[in-house]
Symmetry: C2
Subunit: 356 residues, 2 copies
């Protein structure tokens, strides 16, 4: 039974769930595929646990309990302080899993790929640096990132398979944000904008500062990742992004912003009222094509695939040379710790099966 070394950076909700799913995979499926994952490093923002061979499952479970209780890995018996995840890299190739939202990891990751490590990302940011870094990270197929778009939905793997079998993409469209999907359904059902945002926040579906969702930047990153994977050369500034709040609310503190939310209720009520009775609705939709990269509030027929979305479901529609008249589409919940961790694990399994 081969042991595949894993270094996981990030111990938030997705990271903790991933550790549990990896332990279950090792028990149930190690036999099927002839390998198990062995954690050699586990890091959060301040601390890390490391091991030469593998961190024993009992220690992983202790770390999970400590994290749930609010401690850092720096403070658990097996752990210690950490300055930089790159200090944890092993001399032998490992799978580096980034389940953080950290900035500026891309250069270190690209370097690690050159050294023979494999990379699995739930973190979108390393794929949204320069096009050059994107290429360095991904061109050998040793970096996988299913969970960056649609969480556990088969989006990136489907796209990769279309491209590899010689079917060029002409357009990818759809709704890539469960949070904004929920918001649109609530607005459609008559809830004021401010109340809908607060409800999404209370359900834990927004970032701590909801502007990180309302800015459209999260959807824009997903659009950029799909564009680049499709072979379109594009930078972040090429994505036309419509934010869901006006500029002047951008400079406020989170608390001030939340207090100002009701000032936007009227505008969104108006936008939905204007189209009432016309058989259309509004969705926060993305368009990814060679000549157009945009994410914006878009009027769509209510009975169209996008218009019939409800709640946090994502929809990704692929139009290609072969799927031209009749597109290929994938639909389902595109957020949540369980399904996001599953997207990461399925990438790890694919890399494990390719291990040599």
């Amino acid at each position: 039974m081969e042991r595949i070394p894993v270094l996981q950076v990030g111990m938030g909700g997705v990271g903790r769930t991933l550790v549990e799913q990896v332990l279950t995979f090792n028990e149930r499926f190690g036999g099927r595929y002839g390998f198990r994952f062995a954690y050699v490093g586990l890091a959060d923002r301040q601390g890390a646990i490391v091991a030469d061979e593998r961190i024993p499952p009992a220690v992983l479970l202790e770390a999970l309990a400590a994290k749930r209780a609010g401690s850092s890995l720096a403070d658990v018996p097996a752990g210690g302080p950490l300055l930089d995840w790159r200090n944890l890299l092993t001399p032998v190739p490992c799978i580096i899993v980034d389940v953080t939202a950290q900035d500026d990891a891309e250069l270190g990751l690209a370097e690690a790929v050159v050294q023979g490590h494999r990379v699995v990302l739930a973190n979108k940011k390393p794929l949204c640096g320069s096009m050059e870094t994107f290429r360095a990270l991904t061109e050998r197929g040793n970096t996988r990132y299913e969970a960056t778009v649609g969480a556990g939905l088969p989006v990136i793997s489907t796209l990769r398979s279309l491209l590899d079998t010689g079917d060029p993409v002409t357009r990818i469209s759809g709704c890539f944000s469960g949070t904004l999907g929920f918001l649109m359904t609530q607005l459609e059902d008559g809830q004021p904008f401010s109340a809908a945002v607060l409800e999404a926040k209370q359900r834990g579906w927004t970032e701590p500062d909801p502007r990180d969702d309302l800015s459209g930047m999260d959807v824009a990153r997903k659009a950029l990742i799909l564009a680049r994977t499709s072979g379109f050369s594009a930078e972040m500034e090429d994505v036309a992004v419509e934010p869901l709040f006006p500029d002047q609310l951008g400079a406020l503190s989170t608390e001030e912003f939340l207090a100002e939310l009701p000032t936007l209720d009227h505008e969104y009520r108006d936008r939905f009222d204007t189209i009432a009775g016309q058989g259309t609705t509004l969705r926060y939709a993305a368009q990814v094509a060679l000549d157009r990269l945009s994410v914006a509030l878009t009027e769509v027929p209510r009975d169209s695939p996008i218009g019939s979305l409800r709640g946090p479901d994502n929809l990704v529609v692929f139009q290609t040379q072969r799927y031209a008249e009749r597109p290929l589409s994938v639909r389902g919940p595109g957020a949540g710790v369980e399904v996001t961790a599953a997207g990461v694990l399925s990438d790890m399994i694919a890399l494990g099966r390719e291990w040599r």
Copy 2:
């Protein structure tokens, strides 16, 4: 650049398109993944071309031309007669690709897997023998069969990924036949049953004998494959199948059957007329669950995901522990030589990336 030996059995429409797609993959993506496919054997019903190292691309192109002109591989300069594809097996492990509709291949394929060969199937029949043979063929993950359900749509890979990440399936439902999907749309639009069947036949969307589609057996095989892959132990006779023609038409010749088709027009007109104005329609739908395996003409709301299908689109809806309230679904055309060959090629690429 590693060369991965491939033995392809079947040179019909899908088989010929696959050869072309493999040649394109070798040119475009060999560099990305560090390997190319090398045909060591190519077989049709009567003949074969074999090579120790690889069949040169020029010979492959000649074989394609000869097949298109109606010849057998037995008659091309590089070819010879063939009794049994198992005679073509190489001493070193290869990828065996079955793009035929042959019966009774499963035991030979299972044996080949034990010997270290990998298998890729577009042929559903080898997966529909006994449950024991299914397990022998698939348990190590060395047999892949994306194209058996939904052609190029990511159905089997999605299911495998759900299971591997610890998400048990509770139910899979949907429409798995492009041919019957087309038929239902035509009936819904008022075309007589006999005319719709003949139109599907003329478009090349039915088997030579349309009863092979109308019997529901093709959909039943897909349902059985999904059930078995989900971990449900089931045999072909466990699938409740509603055929679209009465028993007494089963014994006729194909020509006699086609001549009798108009006798069924009235019944189908009645069935659609009965539900007219009720907001429902009829679809040939499949249900796959632990306690129920069925394929049948089913009344569904017209605005439901299944009811809104048009033409040859397939829909596969996965309900699992994680995707319980909101299912994960895949939709798109589930037939056609280009997309079916692409489903086979994507399996070959996955196996190639795992090659060792």
